[in-house]
């Protein structure tokens, strides 16, 4: 099964127990306005252009024969400053698993496990399931929005050791407004998660005036009732990668919560 990922991060520290390797799946059904991994939104490979290093040599505009460059009209191999990169790599579950196991081997007993993140890993369910099968000897964790068909959700979490799920906004109308989708399925899946007996934590990113309102947080507290809850401070650098993808970051101010 082929899937699309956009990054593999060794030495991830906030994605579960131990020193973990995190795989970032490309593509997400949500469109949260504060997303700090914009290259994870679309399911398709995208061109990322970092203009800070561009010396305007126009080498990328020369015609080339590389298949991977054709969709973008620029040659990504020609840039002497490495300003151009394609976000999104297609890979089979087996290939990816082989690659991932290398970092596990290095760390041996100090290796904590793998975390599936993104984007939304549940949006490539068959690929994810196959990958889980290949990595079943390791501690497996997922970071998910919980937005997924409930049957699929249950099937997948049953095979994992730890689940990190976001509950961003309690009110459905506001949830649709700020993330593009209803939270009904998410809340259904939250119940499935609670009943599964699996170890999990709930995360809420604190987006100024959107999710960090007293009303929202009080409501979420009631919904999650006693579950471990991590409130994440707003990442002031969240908008950093948008420009390189040609997308606009919709939250036009920053706040440093330190």
């Amino acid at each position: 099964m082929i899937g699309t990922i956009f990054d593999i991060k060794e030495m991830a520290v906030h994605d579960g127990p131990g020193i973990r390797t995190t795989v970032f799946f490309k593509g997400c059904p949500l469109r949260c306005r504060w997303c700090h991994n914009p290259e994870g939104l679309s399911f398709e490979p995208q061109l990322m252009y970092k203009d800070a290093r561009c010396i305007d040599c126009k080498s990328c505009q020369k015609k080339c024969e590389h298949e991977e460059c054709k969709p973008f009209g620029r040659c990504i191999h020609a840039c002497p400053e490495n300003c151009l990169e394609i976000a999104g790599r297609r890979v089979t579950a087996k290939e990816l698993a082989t690659e991932l196991k290398k970092s596990a081997d290095v760390l041996g007993k100090d290796f904590g496990g793998f975390t599936f993140s993104g984007g939304e890993p549940l949006a490539q369910p068959e690929f994810l399931l196959e990958l889980i099968g290949e990595l079943k000897d390791y501690h497996l964790c997922i970071e998910t929005s919980g937005f997924c068909d409930s049957k699929i959700f249950k099937t997948i979490i049953d095979k994992l050791d730890f689940i990190i799920m976001d509950i961003k906004i309690a009110n459905d109308e506001l949830h649709k407004k700020y993330t593009g989708v209803s939270n009904e399925t998410i809340l259904d899946n939250l119940n499935i998660l609670k009943e599964s007996g699996k170890a999990f934590i709930i995360r809420t990113p604190l987006i100024p005036d959107i999710t960090d309102t007293k009303e929202n947080l009080d409501k979420i507290e009631k919904i999650i009732v006693g579950s471990t809850w991590e409130k994440l401070p707003y990442n002031a650098a969240a908008g950093a990668k948008y420009k390189s993808l040609g997308i606009e970051y919709q939250i036009d101010w920053r706040r440093n919560d330190n």
């Binding site: 991060k9 030495m11 906030h14 840039c79 100090d110």
Partner: protein, 664 residues
């Protein structure tokens, strides 16, 4: 930190103590030349005059005293004389003794009067001068009504230290005197080992609690920073005041103690660039100790630097060091392994440039060779040739004799010591390995780049071949990605270097030790060649010490550790760490700290030899370049010492900024 410490601390940080300094404009060199004095007579005389000129200054609230008031050491040789000496002898760096680790504790436990009995004529004079200077401090202490100091200075340095405070003060006097005599890179060695008995006894008597002991240690640590701006070094911070904590004794027992722990804490609290904290670890080191040490890493001083006993000690023994001496190892100014009390190794006498060897082979031999193995043979020949060159050209090593250093060492040090090995750094291993990997893959295996094409592109600094540059720079296999294809080349390079030095004897009867460090050669050597086959452009520096290439795209610290622990360090144990840079944010909580500690443990368990961790914040450094006044205390790790970022020359700043940092 207590109130007085805060005031004193700010006073030193604001450099207000510099107001007590003056320069002397003595023309000693001409006077000595006229009188026809020998080198040792000159050193002895200058020391006497400087001790005489030094005033006793006791700062408000200072517990450990002695402060330099003379800011310069006048030359003892005229230019003409020095030229003659240079033509006659091999002079290492400035010619004064450096990178030695004298036996402080023996003198601290004996007292200078007793030491005088076995000292030579000039040693006796030096001791007298130190006592005279110390008596000035005693007088000043009386004047200021500092009863505590009066008691201490009545005892030390004439007589043995009786307690922790006296031991620390005695150390300060000895260390201060070494610097005043003209020695540099005066290392501290295994401080926690030789000082602990004093602390232990005092704590058992109830004289100190852990808190009050920590305060005193912080005051003591502060003393390393008071005069360091006038110590010699490549940049400020490069002064060799290296302290080694932890490690084992002769029987392999762990000697980490309360003092070791307090030293880590004192460094955390002071946040100053001296003393440089090193920590010896092994596979027996518990995970919690790595967590404690990582709290110091978080502070961003580049401390501690780790050395792996399991790898270093056997390697030293196989190089001819006795077991007793090998287990006692410490580091020199940066990271070279030396032996306290008896070692006179010159561990930084020269350096080999791996990329230069590759460059010569590319230009002279690439077109003539039909296989990668044949080409590597040409590289090997260049390395061997350069090593022969280096070794054969070091004859008649001579150092300006230091009478007081001689008093403090356990052996006669004027013409060498018990060990007289020479250390040779190895610069740019990643640049060389990456270049060779690219040549192996594209020129010989895939044949997608012709030899002519490659040579031409390199000679033109890739100006006309952006796509080739991109391929070599960003797509070719790189050291640091746990890729055996290129990692094995690094292994071969280090083996070749070690092999080229094997069996050679130096002019002092010692051997040559191949190392994995670069010192400042990463800049110098990089300017010797143009662009390289790894996609490095001309004038771009190499990475420091044992690190991956500055611009290599690496997967992360786990892969880097995997790549850089595969080599055969047992043959090349001069020292030189792997450097890992982490973004500050990884240390934001306990989770991150613990995991970084675990990563270090993993490095050691895998057989890594030496490691330094840097904590960086790119935004902060860039801002510091624009607004240095806002970032006075920003410290960065250079190649083996730490510096205040804003005091560095721009090319050093740029290099640190260019380094890879792992973010979360």
């Amino acid at each position: 930190m207590v109130n007085y410490m805060n005031k004193l601390y700010d006073f030193i940080l604001d450099k207000e103590h510099h107001a007590y300094r003056h320069s002397v404009d003595w023309n000693l060199a001409d006077e000595y030349a006229q009188k026809g004095l020998s080198a040792i007579e000159r050193m002895s005389d200058r020391f006497e005059r400087l001790c005489d000129e030094e005033k006793a200054v006791i700062l408000d609230g200072e517990q450990i005293v002695f402060l330099r008031t003379v800011g310069n050491l006048p030359a003892i040789f005229t230019d003409k004389e020095w030229e003659e000496i240079n033509s006659k002898y091999y002079i290492h760096e400035l010619g004064f003794m450096s990178n030695l680790s004298p036996n402080y504790y023996d003198t601290i436990a004996t007292g200078l009067l007793k030491k005088k009995e076995t000292a030579d004529e000039y040693g006796k004079k030096a001791i007298d001068n130190i006592i005279k200077l110390s008596d000035k401090y005693l007088e000043e202490a009386k004047k200021q009504g500092r009863e505590d100091l009066v008691e201490v200075l009545t005892q030390v340095p004439r007589y043995p230290a009786r307690n922790f405070r006296e031991a620390l003060q005695f150390f300060r006097i000895l260390h201060f005197s070494l610097w005043l005599e003209g020695n540099y890179h005066n290392t501290v060695a295994r401080f926690d080992r030789y000082m602990y008995p004093y602390l232990k006894a005092d704590m058992e008597k109830g004289i100190y609690t852990e808190e009050t002991a920590l305060e005193l240690i912080e005051d003591f640590f502060l003393s390393f920073n008071k005069d360091s701006d006038i110590y010699v070094g490549v940049q400020q911070g490069d002064n060799g005041q290296s302290m080694m904590l932890g490690g084992c004794d002769e029987d392999g027992n762990d000697v980490y103690n309360l003092l070791s722990e307090l030293c880590l804490k004192a460094s955390c609290n002071n946040k100053m660039i001296d003393p440089k904290i090193n920590l010896r670890v092994s596979k027996n080191t518990p995970a919690e100790r790595y967590t404690e040490a990582t709290k110091l890493t978080k502070v961003g001083l580049g401390f501690p630097q780790y050395s792996n006993d399991d790898v270093v000690i056997p390697a030293l023994e196989s190089m001819g060091y006795s077991h007793k001496d090998a287990v006692n190892y410490t580091v020199a100014a940066c990271w070279e392994f030396i032996i306290p009390n008896v070692g006179a190794d010159i561990a930084n006498i020269s350096a080999l440039s791996y990329p230069k060897a590759v460059d010569v082979a590319v230009h002279d031999s690439l077109k003539k060779t039909d296989s990668y193995d044949e080409f590597f043979g040409a590289v090997r020949a260049e390395i061997e040739k350069e090593c022969n060159n280096i070794c054969e050209n070091i004859k008649d090593v001579w150092f300006i004799p230091s009478p007081f250093m001689n008093v403090l060492m356990d052996c006669d040090i004027y013409n060498g010591g018990k060990y007289n090995n020479f250390g040779i750094h190895g610069t740019g291993i990643a640049t060389a390995a990456d270049s060779l990997a690219a040549i192996k893959k594209y020129v010989f295996e895939e044949k997608s780049i012709s030899k002519e094409e490659l040579i031409k592109a390199i000679d033109e600094n890739f100006e006309n071949t952006p796509e080739l540059l991109h391929k070599l720079r960003f797509e070719a296999p790189k050291l640091g990605n746990n890729d055996d294809f290129v990692d094995s080349i690094a292994t071969e390079l280090l083996d070749t270097f070690a092999g080229a030095l094997k069996g050679k004897t130096n002019c002092r009867g010692g051997i040559f030790r191949a190392g994995t460090g670069s010192a400042m050669y990463y800049l110098w050597h990089a300017n010797e060649i143009g662009a390289s086959a790894d996609g490095r452009r001309e004038k771009e520096p190499f990475g420091t010490n044992y690190s991956v290439s500055l611009f290599a795209r690496v997967k992360g610290p786990v892969s880097v550790i995997a790549s850089m622990t595969k080599q055969h360090f047992e043959n090349a144990m001069n020292g030189g760490p792997l450097t890992l840079e982490f973004h500050q944010s990884i240390f934001a909580d306990d989770d991150g700290i613990e995991k970084v500690g675990l990563l270090v443990k993993n490095f050691i368990d895998r057989g890594g030899h030496q490691l330094q961790l840097n904590t960086v914040n790119l935004d902060r450094m860039l801002d510091a370049q624009k607004h240095p006044e806002n970032h006075r205390q920003l410290v960065v790790r250079i190649w083996g010492w730490s510096a205040y970022f804003v005091e560095l020359d721009k090319e050093y700043q740029d290099h640190v900024i260019a380094r890879q940092a792992y973010t979360v």
